[in-house]
């Protein structure tokens, strides 16, 4: 079976700075992988490359079967990215935002509604403009947008940051469900204990490359569930 993410010697430049300096990474479908490593290592850059938002200037890069070096657009609508920025319209309400972005992704209103309910946004917050939300509520809204998209690959940049205890449990549940449904999940996170508990495998990024062996990997790698498509 073809891997969901396949990077080999991938280089990516921000201006003239090589944010990725030859990354090798292989992720199987429905696998949940954690990227960890110091600040500025290139985790966000890897996720953005996989989403087709940044160019891979040399090396091999294939995501969901699409060759990113040749064509990085067609992969975009198939991934869900939770980035550092919210990607929401501050002046529109939570419900307007989730509905708009769900429709923009080709999902329907029912998906939007379900996502809002799942993330606890269907109550009072529904009609609050996003610009007024607290940091965690805003993050939940971005998550709802992502969930409503029905993507095949989730790219989560520090998914736990800003979420309260319930939110953390919620997102862990979402990730578990997604993986069980065959969605591949790539997580960048500094919350090691929390993240390691839910991933199949941890990969260490440093200096724009992936380290061969992850040093903190003191648990045996979890087997990828065999029954996923």
């Amino acid at each position: 079976m073809e891997p969901a993410v396949h990077l080999r010697g991938a280089v990516s430049l921000i201006g003239r700075f090589p944010a990725l300096a030859g990354v090798d990474l292989e992720v199987a479908p429905a696998e949940v992988v954690l990227l960890q490593g110091p600040n500025g290592a290139g985790k966000t850059t890897i996720l953005r490359c996989c989403a087709g938002l940044m160019a891979v200037s040399s090396g091999e890069a294939r995501v969901l079967g699409v060759d990113l070096v040749r064509d990085r657009r067609s992969v975009r609508r198939r991934v869900g990215l939770l980035g550092h920025a919210s990607g929401l319209y501050d002046e529109l309400t939570v419900a307007d935002n989730v509905r708009f972005w769900a429709r923009a992704a080709g999902s329907d209103q029912a998906d939007a509604q379900a996502a809002m309910e799942r993330l606890g946004l269907a109550g009072r917050l529904r009609d609050v403009p996003v610009g007024r939300l607290s940091a965690g509520q805003r993050r939940r809204t971005s998550l709802a947008v992502m969930v409503a998209r029905r993507a095949e690959l989730w790219l989560l940049d520090e998914p736990h940051a800003g979420l309260d205890q319930d939110g953390r449990d919620l997102i862990d549940g979402l990730i578990g469900d997604a993986s069980a449904a065959g969605v591949t999940v790539l997580i960048a996170s500094h919350e090691r204990e929390r993240a390691e508990a839910i991933v199949h495998r941890t990969v260490t990024v440093a200096g724009g490359t992936v380290r061969p062996a992850a040093p903190s990997q003191d648990r045996p790698p979890v087997q990828v569930p065999a029954d996923v498509p």
Binding site: A51, R77, G87, L88, Y89, D96, A104, A105, G106
Partner: protein
């Protein structure tokens, strides 16, 4: 594509309905420009009579600038561009949606300004038959070119300054053609007027075409 355009235009018009920026801020601004320029050009020398159509279109032009700035500052916020890229929306549809939203606001504005001009400058709107299509064609051209440069500058940190710089020269032909068409309309030289109108239509068509083709690239790179 048209479904996407409707989605985007609907979103923008809902934003306008909520924030009333075009109505409460851009429209008074347009009136202001009309008044200010007329005064700066020293009325008692009889300049104004000749300059009325020019001033009208300068006011429209500067308002277009504001409308475009507003329309794309919304899209520039906190990762929205990435969201747009990641969405399944057709870039051509996004472009058309923005053109429609900006165009509708401009049309309302022009109607107001036209009343202003007739009253303030004592202009006599002869050939309505010419004025209305001129406004329509010019508006489409302005909104299309504006959306093109709006998305180009939206992602840049210097958007406040680069947009006017890029947009004004591009819109200059519209300014000139629309002014001439109006002069012809006011003076009842219809034949000449239709020629200028033709130019406006060509311009509008060209920018719509260009936009459909390159909006993709602009959304991508800016």
């Amino acid at each position: 594509m048209f479904r996407d355009a409707a989605l985007i235009a609907g979103k923008d018009l809902r934003l306008e309905a909520r924030a009333r920026v075009a109505l409460n801020q851009v429209a008074p601004f347009a009136l202001l420009v009309l008044v200010l320029f007329a005064f700066a050009l020293d009325p008692d020398r009889g300049v104004l009579d000749q300059a009325t159509p020019g001033l009208f279109w300068i006011a429209v032009l500067l308002s277009t600038l504001l409308a475009v700035q507003r329309g794309f500052s919304v899209e520039a916020a906190d990762g929205v561009r990435d969201s747009l890229r990641l969405s399944a929306l057709d870039p051509a549809g996004i472009f058309l949606g923005k053109v429609v939203a900006i165009g509708v606001q401009l049309l309302v504005l022009e109607a107001l300004l036209l009343i202003g001009v007739v009253v303030l400058y004592d202009a006599d709107p002869g050939g309505i038959a010419l004025l209305v299509p001129t406004c329509l064609a010019a508006t489409v051209g302005l909104a299309a070119a504006g959306s093109l440069y709006g998305v180009l500058s939206a992602g840049l940190r210097v958007k406040e300054t680069i947009l006017p710089l890029l947009l004004l020269p591009v819109l200059a032909p519209v300014l000139i053609a629309a002014t001439q068409a109006f002069e012809a309309g006011f003076d009842d030289r219809m034949g000449e007027g239709w020629r200028w109108l033709g130019l406006l239509v060509v311009f509008a068509a060209a920018y719509i075409g260009l936009g459909l083709l390159v909006f993709d690239t602009l959304l991508e790179e800016a």
